[in-house]
Amino acid sequence: MLNKTIWNKQSTRETVSGYLFMTPAIVVLGIFLIVPVIFTIVLAFYRVQLLGEVSFQFAGFKNFVRMRSDERVWIALKNTAEYVAIVVPIQTILALGLALILNTNIKGKSWFRVAFFLPTVTSSAVLTLIFMWIYNTNGLLNSFLGFFGLPTYNWLGDPDVALKGIMLMNIWATAPLFMVIYLAALQDIPESLYEAASIDGAAPWEKFWCITLPFLKPVTFFVIVMGIIGTFQLFDQSYIFSSGSGGPNNATLTIVLLIYQYAFKNLDMGYALALTLMLALVIMTVTLIQRSLFKEESLD
């Protein structure tokens, strides 16, 4: 009886301290993450008036129907999809390649690792400004291309290459982050597996194919998912490149930039929220498809 009250007292105390420890997290994540998700889902079906007093008016599926005939939605989707499809595979392979090289027994690897990480530490605003200047018609990149007799471009003004300029920059800036994640994973592969393979007379590429790659599957899944989520949300670079317009000729218009324009330039918050919901669904779908692909492969 006495024992039980002591135990109860202690478990109550544990519960109280548990919740006290969690309070800041519960409050902040609740107000700024969970409530916003609910808001997005609900308000996507409303017309939201932002000027003066904020007011809401139920609109049913109007916001979603409107998307179908909104040409800029399709342009933004196409640009974003193209961006994801090109950037994610290249940055993943580049990250893996760099990590594999840095995982060998060469000297100075910590120095290289620190050096490669520099672009990841730098803000997207600074990177974009530096690259805009390098991409200038008489900038460094064109001087360089010209020096080798290669064609030069008006990187910022030509709709055909503007988005590619952003892709190039972001692959360069993001690959080192994933390289570090790959490096951590590579160090977890037990050395004994390689030794056993050596005794069996396996060639280096066989070791890579049969030991390294299968081991890296979970981390590759993680890297690709993070890559997809990140690239689908491209905004800063497009915004700064085009001064918020998505130009030239909508070439750098991404979904998030379009959402920003509708919400804060056209003050059409309900429609912008519907677009947000659409983006969330697209990201979720792609992630799920990718997950099932990875699962199937591992059954083989």
Binding site: R13, A25, A125
Partner: protein
């Protein structure tokens, strides 16, 4: 024969690393050199990395003639430092509770943290704006700080860290009559330094470099953070790349310094989820 081919392989790897290091450094060196060049030299084009006439004029101009640049720097420091300190405290507290304290709802809260972790940030942007607007927090520091006080990713990371934390220390503390809070602040936190250092890098960098939320929350130029200020600069000094590059260098330095200072812990931070490192 084998040794010889292995050696040439090593040289090939070195060459690949050197080329990539070169590609990494070129844009930064080019920007750094431009920040010490005069406008006529920049406008003339060319690819000289060493300024013909080295000048500090660009840095003087942005600090002395551009009244808001110092203010933007101060705003960025204010927001990033506050956000980082609160994250270190709150994420660790939550991670510790999830890993170590038994209470009803623990499991559910952990699942919620995991669920929240995969919500892409951009998706909550507009509701966040509406909520901050209704609080009257637009154009205020708390508008940028409050939504960033905790971070689900690092709550998760701290939980993993505390799961592997030696239990004996806490038991000893309990025998000494310390309660949960005393144990946490006097025994556990001082030993969590590597994890806290890794958090510091990521949280500070994230806050320092954030662009979209400040863009939405801050419309008054006095309240801009550096990334916004740089963007405004770009509009104002379209062709004055010397000023823009000087301002870019200044705004890169603090994040770089934090990274350089905590780099040792950063690698530990990435690897302490398991294995050697």
């Amino acid at each position: 024969m084998i040794a010889k081919s292995a050696r040439s392989w090593i040289w090939l790897l070195y060459a690949a690393l050197a080329v990539y290091a070169f590609i990494t450094f070129i844009p930064f060196t080019w920007a750094l050199s431009a920040s010490f060049k005069s406008l006529p030299e920049i406008s003339a084009g060319g690819a000289d990395f060493i300024p013909k006439a080295f000048t500090l004029e660009n840095y003087k101009t942005i600090f002395l003639q551009e009244p808001l640049f110092g203010r933007w720097l101060a705003n960025s420091v204010m927001v990033a430092v506050t956000v980082t300190l609160f994250n270190l405290l709150f994420n660790s507290m939550a991670g510790y509770a999830l890993a170590r304290i038994k209470f009803p709802g623990n499991r559910l809260l952990f699942v919620l943290v995991l669920a929240v972790l995969v919500i892409p940030g951009q998706i909550t942007l507009l509701p966040k704006f509406l909520i901050l607007k209704s609080f009257g927090w637009l154009n205020s520091y708390q508008g940028l700080i409050a939504p960033a006080l905790v971070n689900a990713t690092f709550i998760f990371m701290m939980r993993q860290f505390f799961l592997n934390f030696p239990k004996e220390l806490e038991e000893a503390a309990a025998l000494d009559g310390l309660n949960r809070f005393e144990t946490f602040f006097q025994v556990v936190m001082p030993l969590a330094k590597p994890a806290l250092a890794a958090q510091t890098i990521f949280i500070f960098m994230g806050s320092w470099n954030e662009f979209l939320l400040p863009l939405v929350v801050m419309s008054n130029p006095e309240m801009f953070t550096l990334p916004l200020g740089l963007n405004a600069f770009k509009g104002q000094y379209v062709t004055y790349w010397n000023y823009i590059m000087a301002a870019s260098m200044i705004s890169t330095l603090p994040a770089l310094a934090i990274y350089a200072f905590f780099n040792r812990y950063f690698i530990q931070g990435v690897t302490f989820t398991g294995g050697k490192g």
